[in-house]
């Protein structure tokens, strides 16, 4: 029971950040390895607003998400669009974008390190225990979960029920045909990339409520988000959500039953199993 609830609480936030990456990889076709750093930047933003201006992390999202949107929009315009235009094949774009976003992620880490220093950070916000089935959970964790669930639901509804969401999905399926029906693929890609960044930063703000973080922890979140995306299937939003909960359970189970130091090993085990038995992901369709 403890594992089940812990897994759900963790999985909710994972779902949100994986959806951010999904938008960037599925639609804009950029394997963004700086994703975790954007998340950590969101955490630092929330910390800064909370300690400096007493703004609570939920409200902080209202400020942080647009900021992250603008930042990621310019990252895409300046660094990634030249690569998209230069690439002769999808493979080359993949290699270039991986190297380039690695560079961007290191610059993020370096800047955060220079501004905030190398220590671990956390702040106390609503650390009131709340009992569910005889087991205490911090209210902050529950709020983070609810926040993530609401954002993820909004994103899902927007993607599936609006015209602009449809445009994104069209580009995701085949960029060349999307152009035929009058969709500006470059603009939509930039928008998807920026939106993915905004969602990720919002996730960072939520995570900062209950977790400690430091300038260089982003890569852990990048890995988890990637594993979730691959586990669920690229371009499958529903798969992503299911996979996020699977990872949440697996990590909580390993942390409570064996050792908290082995959470990454748990994530990797899942990853290997998927690669060996279902490389297209749980919900992905078999490609030709």
């Amino acid at each position: 029971m403890e594992i089940l609830l812990g897994g759900i609480l963790l999985g909710g936030t994972y779902a949100l950040i994986a959806m951010g990456l999904q938008l960037q990889y599925g639609v804009a076709r950029i394997m963004n390895l700086a994703n975790g750093e954007v998340l950590v930047a969101g955490s630092f933003g929330a910390l800064w607003l909370f300690t400096g201006a007493q703004i609570n992390p939920i409200l902080a999202i209202v400020l942080l998400a647009p900021a992250a949107y603008i930042l990621n929009y310019f990252i895409y315009l300046i660094f990634l669009r030249p690569l998209v235009r230069r690439a002769k094949s999808e493979g080359q774009l993949e290699v270039d974008s991986i190297l380039s976003t690695f560079g961007i992620s290191f610059i993020f880490i370096g800047l955060l390190h220079a501004i905030f220093g190398g220590e671990y950070f956390n702040y106390e916000y609503l650390e009131i225990p709340f009992e569910i089935f005889g087991q205490a959970y911090g209210v902050n964790r529950i709020i983070a979960f609810v926040g993530a669930a609401i954002l993820a639901a909004l994103l899902y509804i927007w993607l599936t029920h609006t015209r602009s969401g449809l445009r994104l999905r069209a580009v995701s399926v085949t960029p060349s045909s999307a152009r035929l029906v009058g969709i500006d693929v470059e603009r939509t890609s930039a928008m998807a990339f920026a939106l993915g960044g905004a969602v990720t930063a919002a996730g960072g703000s939520l995570i900062s409520m209950f977790d400690t973080f430091d300038a260089s922890i982003g890569v852990v979140f990048t890995m988890k988000a990637l594993i979730i995306v691959i586990l669920g299937g690229v371009k499958e939003i529903r798969g992503t959500i299911v996979a996020a909960f699977i990872l949440g359970f697996a990590e909580t189970a390993v942390a409570t039953l064996i050792d908290p130091g082995l959470t990454l090993a748990a994530a990797f085990l899942l990853f290997i199993l998927v690669l060996l038995f279902r490389p297209q992901g749980l919900f992905g369709r078999q490609s030709s």
Partner: protein
Amino acid sequence: MTRTEIRNFLITIVLFALAALIPLSDSGFWLSMGITIATYMVLSTSWALFSGPTHYISLATGAFYGIGMFTVGVGIELLPYWVLVVVAAVIGAVVAALVGLATLRLSGVYFVIFTLGLAELIRQIVTWVQTTMGSSSGLYVLTNITEPIIFWELLILGIIVYFIGWWINRSRLGFALRIIGNDEVVAVHSGINTAAAKIILFVVSGTVATIVGALLAPRLSYIESSIAFSPMLSFIVVITALLGGAQRLWGPIVGVIPFMLVWDFLTATFPNQTTLMLGICFLLVVYAIPNGFAGLIEKYSHRLRGRT
């Protein structure tokens, strides 16, 4: 062998012979710099053997290097050092084969992510085993192997790597890899077992990195998992190899020497900004010199020949 090949062969021998003289001068700085450069020369060249033709970016170098170091650290009380180097090489080859089997049949992204986490994964497991076994987190490697010997060992390994690279380039395997790198679909259709070719190369490259780790263990004398499995190493290998040009066998060395000299100066001057600088290096390699120094050199030498 053709005439150019004989010429290149002689140049290589002369350069290696000159490099081998470095420990005879008694400057401690150049010897330790030489070891660093030799280490990265071997690592980057073997990295480029696999990643150059296939375009798969491997970030597993740090993991293999760490495996090599740890094998020596764990076994030094039980077995003679030379046996351990061989044991380490075998372990590295097996791990590389397993990783390759799991990931190399799929697209490049999966491979990058997997190798990115591999060092951290092994580190977590090692730490966990150490704490549950109740042993201390560090290991002592006390031998009478001095720095000049390590340097010469690395040079010999470098020669072996160059020889392997030259031989692969000439063989059917090298030809197959170039086709895979150009277009994997074409390669599959011409009957090349693409997965096998990639795995073989990955095993070669991983084994070399493991041996390097094993050779360098006596230099550190105290090994800790956070030092042995440093992710920084993998990234620097990628940068130096791409900076030099991964398409040519001699490319990485052209990248390693200037990079390590500049890097040494920069990290000494701005010790807190290394990550930031690493990021800038990555962006430079991608945007300013996509084909590396080797690409630039070839472009200009062609132009010069065209004029005369």
